[in-house]
Amino acid sequence: MSTRHGVDRRRVLATTVAGIAAFGLTGCTTKLGSLFSKTEPSAPSVTMTDELVFKPRRVTIRAGQTVEWRNDSVLVHTVTADPGIAAKAADVALPADAKAFNSGNVKPKGKFSHMFTTPGTYRYFCIPHEAAGMVGEVIVKP
């Protein structure tokens, strides 16, 4: 009996430890997964077109996410959020602590990515086609 009891106790103890470990690991995995989703989520993408639009014109993301722009047109475009370059002040906006950025020329079939770490509203434009209304917006939530 004692042996049995002893065996039973060991089995119970092992099962309990394994259960606690499994529970702990599961919780840990959940927490890691949550952290992971905050730092490296799937990148929202914006298309640049022959019709001189950013499509979609506005994307909403969380801080730390990266947006990718794809040039699906036959034209050269830029992704520019720099008040020093804008033809119209209304075509550019940056949160107080955010740095200006400029992709330079993105050729047909080319791509450009930018990670947004500071929450706020970013309004950007295409340098050659700003006057033709090629302006977009990224809303970054905390």
């Binding site: 034209l75 006057a131 033709a132 209304g133």
Partner: protein
């Protein structure tokens, strides 16, 4: 009460003028009765051109003065990206350029090329006025791939004259979506003096053009041109010459397009952006009489209606610009 002096029925004069410009775009066919009035009507409008005296005073000058500060050398290229090609469309008239209906401005000269006579102006749906006929200067356009531009130019001669030291070497090309390549080459010869407006020896730098200026069609907005030229060259397709010689005009200007790539009015110009316009107009110069004559360009580019595009109006907007003086 309508302030417009425009008549509901077209007069023979209107029909004649419309025929001159409209036929280039397949827009109108003149009634036989109007044919006899056509020549006289166009001649009358051309005789009213206000630059005739200035051009007469300059076109025989054998030793024109040079540019103050010395010649300017210009290099302009586009190495990647597409182009915008203008398609035939009616042009909305800017009231600051063309005046109110009772006091029309810019009506003299060859219609569309240097003026829009009142009988060629029609009420537009939005309450303003527009051309009655299709022109190369509207909002319709297409985007075509693989635009390339290479220009080397010198502005040495300042004024219109019989001779010039101005030079332009230009090769511009683009493709359609079927892979056909269209090319414009210039300039075997410069337009040393203008025909219905000045051309400054063939190349001009740093001047306001079009719109209210009388330099080029008023259908384009008044715009600052950093560099412009007029000369004679050729139109090619897939390496074969289709049309030669043709009058070719190019200019690097302020940006004149607005939302949706519509052609703006004077108030819509963006001074801090540039674009290069290449124009092969559907007219040829009649040097003897000092006027332009209708002559559709053999572009080789077929429109969806099956007709050939009768002009090239092509915009390049991914530009590298370099210039030196002296």
């Amino acid at each position: 009460m309508s302030p417009t002096p425009f008549k509901k029925r077209p007069t023979p004069l209107a029909i004649a003028i419309a025929a001159m410009v409209g036929l280039s775009f397949g827009a109108l066919t003149p009634p036989a009765a109007a044919q006899q009035d056509m020549k006289a009507a166009i001649k009358k409008m051309q005789s009213l051109n206000q630059t005739r005296g200035y051009l007469d005073a300059h076109k025989s000058v054998k030793k024109p003065l040079g540019l103050l500060g010395g010649p300017i050398t210009i290099k302009l290229t586009q190495n990647s990206g597409g182009v915008f090609v203008g398609l035939p469309a009616r042009r909305a008239l800017d009231p600051t350029v063309f005046g109110p209906p009772k006091m029309p401005r810019h009506y003299a000269g060859s219609p569309i090329i240097t003026g829009v006579p009142p009988m060629l102006r029609a009420k537009a749906a939005n309450g303003g006025f527009q051309t009655k006929v299709l022109t190369p200067f509207g909002n319709k356009h297409i985007v075509l791939p693989n635009g390339r531009l290479k220009i080397s130019a010198v502005d040495a001669t300042a004024t219109d004259a019989a001779t010039t030291k101005d030079k332009v070497k230009m090769v511009a090309s683009w493709q359609d979506k079927k892979g056909n390549t269209y090319q414009v080459k210039c300039c075997a010869k410069m337009a040393a003096h203008g025909l219905e407006y000045p051309t400054f020896g063939g190349v001009v730098t740093n001047v306001i053009m079009h719109g209210f200026t009388g330099i080029g069609t008023p259908l384009m907005p008044s715009e600052f041109a950093y560099f412009a030229f007029w000369g004679f060259g050729e139109i090619d397709m897939n390496g074969k010459v289709l049309d030669k010689p043709r009058l070719i005009h190019g200019m690097l200007t302020e940006y004149v397009r607005k939302q949706g790539y519509a052609l703006g009015w004077d108030r819509d110009v963006t001074p801090t952006r540039t674009q290069f316009h290449l124009m092969v107009p559907p007219v040829k110069p009649d040097m003897k009489n000092g006027v332009f004559r209708k002559a559709p360009v053999k572009t080789g580019f077929v429109l969806p209606n099956g007709k050939q595009l009768p002009f090239w109006h092509v915009m390049f907007e991914t530009l590298n610009v370099d210039s030196t003086r002296g």
